[in-house]
Symmetry: C2
Subunit: 545 residues, 2 copies
């Protein structure tokens, strides 16, 4: 396939971990200036939207037989046996979510919702810190709005849910249940914006959105999902670009620091740009099966929507100008990213900063005369940790054995477990086990129950686990990215299920051809730095499970 | 109308303010055992749902001519001239909300949304403290679900929004956009609940809901609104009743302590009970025009939904039993309640605990050489207050005069204003004005800028304003409730635009007759305490604007 113009390598400094601390643009212009090409089964194929839930269903791939124990209560399919079945088993057993009555919909259960709340708490604060204010727009959008921006209607019309009846009557104009809010936001911006003094407008909303996806998977791609969507309007292209990149930085920091996911920020190729955007930036995450997941998105919308809706302002010279806009989003899909990045055969593994329960206490006793002492000590430890601001759960139920509880809370991904038995009580100590280090290696005996020592020890361990999960995910990611400099090398990397990284300056048609031949899609590129750099994921065909 | 059986007065101890501290049931059984009958134009007519947004549009009543200045930028119609126009003017000028493109929908703007966030923050914490966990259910409900509970479908079917097209295709089963979630919650409860060990289940969600209302009004009654809806399942009727009353207590405390609204908690008459509930409790608030507003609702659903959906559990004796349920909600309507309780001709007046901005600082200077000193002092004061956890805004813009700013921030309802001029800077003092006491009476000069003195002073004043708003609203409410002991007295009270309070034990048919003759509706009753007590609001007919 000689038509593919693969540049010779140029100015390549590689390690992707540098992305963590460097600002996005410079990071992908300088530090990460390698083309990235990545592996099998992308979770997002054509990323024409803020955070497209475009992934495979939780069904097992056709070539994998169900595990013989599959479906047994409490059983989790080993991850290596069948990644998708493993994912579905974790969601069911850890009670993260459940299926809704309508195909493709999901009920988010308390434990799953608490993870989403941790994501919300952090992002909501950061979104406000960066100058945005929360609002709420109606979810019903007149059908005519969607049609105003040409590529927007093309991208979204196949997956709209449409209300045709209201109050028992056929409606004169059909209403779209919002798939995203650029159109209705512009409708209001035309009324709110008069002059340059009204700019920038920087708003955000936490809302549900609906996209009629054919293939769905809990958290990753559902008919209805929850997200925040930011919308801004600016006087210049430069300001809009700065804003789009700033929010990418917020998302990237969130991924690294809170979710311990070493995402790769970058720009989408033209083919994969959002329906209506000038430039689409995303953070791409490598899941445990080496698939790429688009985990957050930020668009420089240019003037596409402002021209379609007539969103203008009078500039300082009295001239009417179209505003420059951005939009950006992170959704409940991120909960799926956390599961698939850190989980193992024992179940969920949660980064302490995101975990609804950071420490579980399991009291252990055999004889009745031991019970009171053990329970009293357990309640005391619970109180000490709670007072220290640690999210702690004491599992004092008597219907289950300590062994059952160990497995259960490991499966729920709780970072630390404290065990307290009669001997611990008499020595004033306890046992602490790390979720991320299995067996004896992760277990430390004889930690003092003294409140100041215990508090410091637990906080320290939680920090250690947080860093350790990020390191592990980073080294897994790095070991699965292959530098390539020819199309043959790219094909080989993809066939090994890895991500390929290399220079790229091919056409849209050639990009499509690579996708068809290898299943790979471009994940990250940079064409504002003159060379076009890319990440490609594949093979696409077999991925669509 | 001798058919109306008005009991003789019995065990009546009146003062309604006692409701604030007494538990709901005892409060309306003992302290408030008077029948309440209330005045003109109710905001809720037939309250068959959690928090029915059932009120009049913001249009002026037919008999009121528009104020000559109406529509002029910044003009607020005097409250006494036309209450509805006043309400609409405040919403527009204070930028609380704006109309959506679809009839009856509303865009909640940053300032309005910040009030809703204050409501959310308090209630979310209380809902968790009382043992509930947040979840999220899909908003699309199969039409067949709504039909399962007979009175539920009767109550809701006239106002459903229905999705008939998904992904470009006609759907086999129509989907209802949730008007409330009892049905879909029960669908899942049937799967989650097996034995008494799974009970109680206590969940809550923050969500949008849709009801195809014909007459709408921003915040009060919109096609789509935001709310929290709690849903619980219990093993016994007593537990469900206790839960329903507990959440009423949470709502009542919120209204009194945060929103400074002296609501009257009570039970709805049978005619006004929620579609599907055994008992409906509400908190009723008196607005500035003496209309009643249903501001929060809690239902003991009995076994109505569990029988319709087959939601059963195995009790301790191995018997299958239907669960007993509750549901309860507070919505964005509460923002409307705050506006209409405290606002005056100058605009919005916000209780400090709900106010997005508690203190605004207006620096004042004439000559350029004064500017730096004044601004520096203003920034310092801003920092002191911010550090103290006070929500403060410094209005340092140079495009507007101090006088304009005074009016603007008064209109926005900010509880305290700090003025700093050149003379204040040299004396190290500042001027503080209270929003709730107009003119010189509410203005204090020479408050020290010393951080500890200033902080204590401001916090003290905010507390004073909070209490003062509650007292004012309580005394207004009390002066507009008339004790009646005959139907003639009731009619007279209603014709004066007041609420009537008296004993009541009439039939549903008679209740309807009263409504037709006087326009009054029952707002609060108690029939578990043997006497049926009521609040009636009217006249209904002329109210429907």
């Amino acid at each position: 396939m000689g038509a593919l113009r693969l540049h010779s390598l140029y100015l390549f400094v590689s390690t992707s971990t540098r992305v963590a601390s460097a600002p996005i643009c410079s990071s992908f212009l300088h530090h990460n200036s390698k083309v990235r090409l990545a592996p099998a089964k992308p979770y997002a194929s054509v990323s024409r939207d803020l955070c497209t839930p475009v992934t495979s269903e939780a069904d097992a791939p056709e070539n994998v037989e169900k595990h013989p124990k599959s479906g047994q209560e409490g059983f989790i399919t080993p991850r290596s046996y069948d990644f998708n079945a493993w994912y579905a088993d974790i969601i069911a057993n850890a009670e993260l979510a459940d299926y809704g009555p309508v195909r493709g919909t999901m009920v988010i259960r308390p434990y799953g919702y608490a993870i989403w709340e941790a994501i919300q708490d952090y992002l909501n604060a950061k979104i406000k810190e960066t100058g945005h204010k929360n609002v709420y727009f109606p979810q019903f959008i007149p059908y005519s709005f969607i049609e105003k921006e040409a590529s927007h209607v093309e991208g979204f019309s196949p997956e709209l849910a449409v209300v045709t009846i209201g109050g028992g009557k056929e409606l004169e104009e059909k209403l779209v249940v919002r798939p995203t809010s650029e159109t209705i936001v512009n409708y209001k911006f035309t009324q709110w914006i008069r002059s340059y003094r009204d700019l920038p407008i920087m708003i955000n909303q936490w809302a549900n959105v609906t996209r009629w996806e054919m293939r769905t998977k809990p958290f990753i791609r559902t008919l209805e999902f929850l997200w925040q969507e930011g919308h801004t309007a600016h006087a210049t292209l430069e300001e809009a670009e700065e804003e789009a990149l700033k929010m990418m930085e917020v998302y990237k920091n969130f991924a690294y620091e809170q979710a311990a996911i070493p995402v790769i920020p970058g720009r989408k190729s033209r083919r994969e740009t959002f329906a209506g955007a000038l430039r689409t930036y995303t953070i791409e995450a490598m899941m445990g099966d080496r698939k790429a997941l688009q985990a957050g998105t930020s668009h420089n919308l240019g003037q596409n929507f402002s021209r379609a809706f007539g969103t203008q302002f009078t500039d300082e010279n009295g001239q009417r100008q179209y505003v420059w806009q951005t939009s950006w989003a992170i959704s409940t899909r991120f909960v799926g990213a956390i599961i698939m990045t850190h989980g193992d055969d024992a179940g969920l593994m949660l980064p302490p900063k995101i975990a609804p329960i950071q420490v579980v206490i399991v009291p252990i006793w055999k004889k009745d005369d031991e019970k009171t002492g053990v329970l009293n000590a357990a309640y005391l430890v619970e109180k000490v940790l709670k007072t220290a601001g640690i999210k702690v759960e004491l599992d004092a139920s008597e219907q289950r054995t300590p062994g059952w509880k160990f497995n259960f809370w490991e499966m729920k991904g709780v970072p630390l477990r404290i065990e307290i038995g009669p001997r611990d009580v008499s020595s004033g100590t306890l046992v602490i086990s790390r979720r991320d280090i299995p067996g004896k290696l992760g277990k430390v005996f004889g930690i003092s129950m003294d409140s100041s020592i215990l508090e410091a020890y637990v906080k320290d361990k939680l920090d250690e686990i947080q860093s350790s999960l990020l390191e592990k995910a980073t080294s897994f990611r790095n070991s699965n990215i292959v530098d390539v400099s020819s199309y043959d090398e790219l094909k080989e990397a993809i066939s090994l299920g890895k991500w390929a990284r290399g220079p790229w300056s091919a056409s849209d048609a050639e990009e499509l051809r690579v996708k068809e031949e290898t299943g790979a899609t471009i994940r990250r590129s940079c064409n504002i730095c003159k060379i076009i750099l890319t990440v490609v994921v594949g093979p696409f065909a077999s991925m669509m499970i």
